[in-house]
C-alpha cells in the first residue's frame, strides 16, 4: 500500500496530471470535482437545516398549545410520520412514488426533493426537542405570561420560547451535525455530493483509500464547523444563572 495523493491533480477526462491541480479552460480535475461535491453537500445540508428549523420550531410549539387538542394531535401525527419512516425510504417516496401520482413533480430536480425529504425528516426530530424544551419549563412561566395580560402568541414569543430554545441548544447541535452526515443519502437521487464523488472517483482512479480519506476529512470539517457555530451561539445566548450546566463550557 503506497499513497498517491497526485490522484487529486488528475484530469477527469484523460487521466493526465494537471500542473497546479486545478483544471483550466473547462477541464476538471478530481480536486475541482471534490470541492464542487463539497459545495453540494453543504448546500443540501444548510437548506435542509433551514427548512427543518422553521418547520420543527413551528410544529414543536404547536404541540405544547393548551386547550387545542386537535392542533396537538396534528403535530404529534407529523412527528410520528416523519420520524418512523427510514430516511432513505422517505427520499424514494419523494423521488419515485409521489411523481407517479403528481406528474408535475417529475420536473422538480432531485436537489429540491432531497431538501424536502431531509428537511421534513429532521423537522420531526427538532419538533420533538422543541416540545421537550418548552415542557421542561416550570408551569409558573406560562401563568406569569397570562397574569401580565399577554395573549398566547405573546406568552410564547416573550416568555416561553426564549427560555425553551436556550435549553435545547445542545441537542440541536447534534441534530445540525446529523444533517451533514444524513445529507449523504442525496447521492441516491443523483445529487453530485461527497458520497457520490467518493463512489465514482474511487472507481475511476482505483485510489479508493486516498479518495475516502479526503471525503471523510471534509465531512469532519463540515460537521465540526457547525458544531463550533452552535457552541458560539450557545455561549452568546446564555442567560447568566439560568442553566447551571452551560456555564461549564458547553457539551
Amino acid at each position: 500500500m503506497s499513497w498517491d495523493w497526485q490522484v487529486f491533480c488528475t484530469d477527469t477526462l484523460d487521466q493526465t496530471t494537471v500542473a497546479g491541480c486545478f483544471g483550466k479552460g473547462g477541464d476538471i480535475t478530481y480536486l475541482d470535482w471534490l470541492l464542487s461535491a463539497w459545495g453540494w453537500t453543504v448546500s443540501v445540508s444548510l437548506l435542509s437545516l433551514a427548512l427543518a428549523l422553521v418547520l420543527g420550531g413551528l410544529i414543536g410549539t404547536l404541540r405544547t398549545l393548551q386547550g387545542r387538542p386537535w392542533v396537538v394531535r396534528l403535530g404529534n401525527a407529523w412527528v410520528e410520520l416523519f420520524r418512523n419512516i427510514p430516511l432513505l425510504v422517505q427520499l424514494f417516496l419523494w423521488y419515485h412514488v409521489l411523481p407517479s401520482f403528481f406528474p408535475s413533480l417529475q420536473r422538480v430536480p432531485g436537489f429540491v426533493l432531497v431538501i424536502f425529504a431531509l428537511g421534513l425528516f429532521t423537522s420531526a426530530r427538532i419538533a420533538e426537542q422543541v416540545r421537550s424544551g418548552l415542557e421542561s419549563l416550570p408551569r409558573g412561566q406560562r401563568y406569569a405570561g397570562m397574569a401580565v395580560g399577554f395573549t398566547t402568541f405573546q406568552t410564547y414569543r416573550y416568555v416561553l420560547l426564549p427560555m425553551g430554545l436556550r435549553i435545547i441548544i445542545p441537542p440541536l447541535t447534534s441534530e445540525t451535525m446529523n444533517i451533514f452526515k444524513n445529507s449523504s443519502v442525496a447521492f441516491a437521487v443523483s445529487v453530485a455530493e461527497l458520497t457520490m464523488f467518493a463512489m465514482q472517483a474511487q472507481e475511476e482512479t482505483s485510489r479508493g483509500v486516498e479518495i475516502y480519506l479526503a471525503v471523510t476529512a471534509l465531512y469532519v470539517v463540515s460537521a465540526f464547523a457547525i458544531n463550533r457555530v452552535m457552541a458560539f451561539i450557545e455561549k452568546r445566548s446564555r442567560v447568566p444563572g439560568f442553566i447551571a450546566a452551560s456555564s461549564a463550557g458547553g457539551h
Partner: protein, 299 residues
Amino acid sequence: MKKHLLAAAIVALAAGSAMAQANDTLAKIKGSASVTLGVRESSGLSYTLGNGKYVGFHTEMGERILDDIQKQLGLAKLDVKYQPVTSQNRIPLVTNGTVDLECGSTTNNAARQKDVAFAVTTYVEEVRMAVKANSGINSITDLKGRTVATTTGTTSVQTLRKNERAGNLDFKEVYGKDHADSFLMVETGRADAFVMDGSILAANISKAKNPADYKIVGEVLSVEPIACMLRKDDPAFKKAVDDSIKRQIADGSLAKLYDKWFMQPVPPTNTKIGLPMSEATKNAWAHPNDKPMEDYAKK
C-alpha cells in the same frame, strides 16, 4: 504525539505490504488445501442466489479453473471458499491475500494493472444504451437535450462524460444508486436512456414488466475487457489460470457455459437474458490476451 502515530501507521502498512510480497499462490493453495474465490453478489456475470450460493458465467468458469489447478497440484481435496466482493473492496482484497482469484465483472485497465494482474480476457463488454422502444432514440446524437441515466460507481459515468465532451452534446445526466434504480428512471420516464454495459442492460430488460417495451440501441460507446483478477508478480499462478481458460476455450466447454448463462433461462427467475456472443468476445477467445481496456480503444 501525532507524528509518532503517523510513523506507527506507516510502519504497520509497510509490514503489511512486505507480507503480501510473499507471492506464491500455488504454494499457498497446496499448503492449505484451500483457496478463496472472489465473487460478486449482483453483477451480470457473477451473482448470488442467497444462502451463500454463488452462480453466473464467470463464477462457474472460476470454479473450473480451480478444478484444473487442483489436478495440477495433485491435491485429493481442495476447499473452495467464496468471498463476495464489491467494486470498492475487490482490489484491496486481492492484494492483501484475502482473495486468491476474483472472477466477477472486473474491467482490465491500465490503472488497475499497477496493483493487480489479470488472466486472459474471457468476456468483452460493450457499453451501449437502453431506451423505450417507442422513444425514437437510435444513436447518441439523438440524446441532445434529453436526460441520460447511468449508475454511480461505474466506468460508464466516465464514458458518458467523454462522449458528451467529444461530440459537443448537451444532455442532462442522472445517476442511479444501482442498476435497478437507473433502469427504474427509464421505466418511469425520469430519464430517456440508460447507458451501461450491454449484459447489464439485457439482464434488466429481461426482468422488466414488459421486455418488448425496451430495446438496446446506438453505437458502442466503450469496449471493456472483463477478466479474472489475481495478484501481481505471480507468474506460475497466472500461467495455471490462463492455461485452464485456454483449455476451456479450446475444448468448447466455455462456449457451452456461455450458452448456458446467456441464451438459456437462468435462475433465480428462470428468464432468458438472450445476449448472443459479440464479435469482440469471439475475437478475445480466438486470440487469448490480457491487454487492458486502453489497447481496445486504440483500434
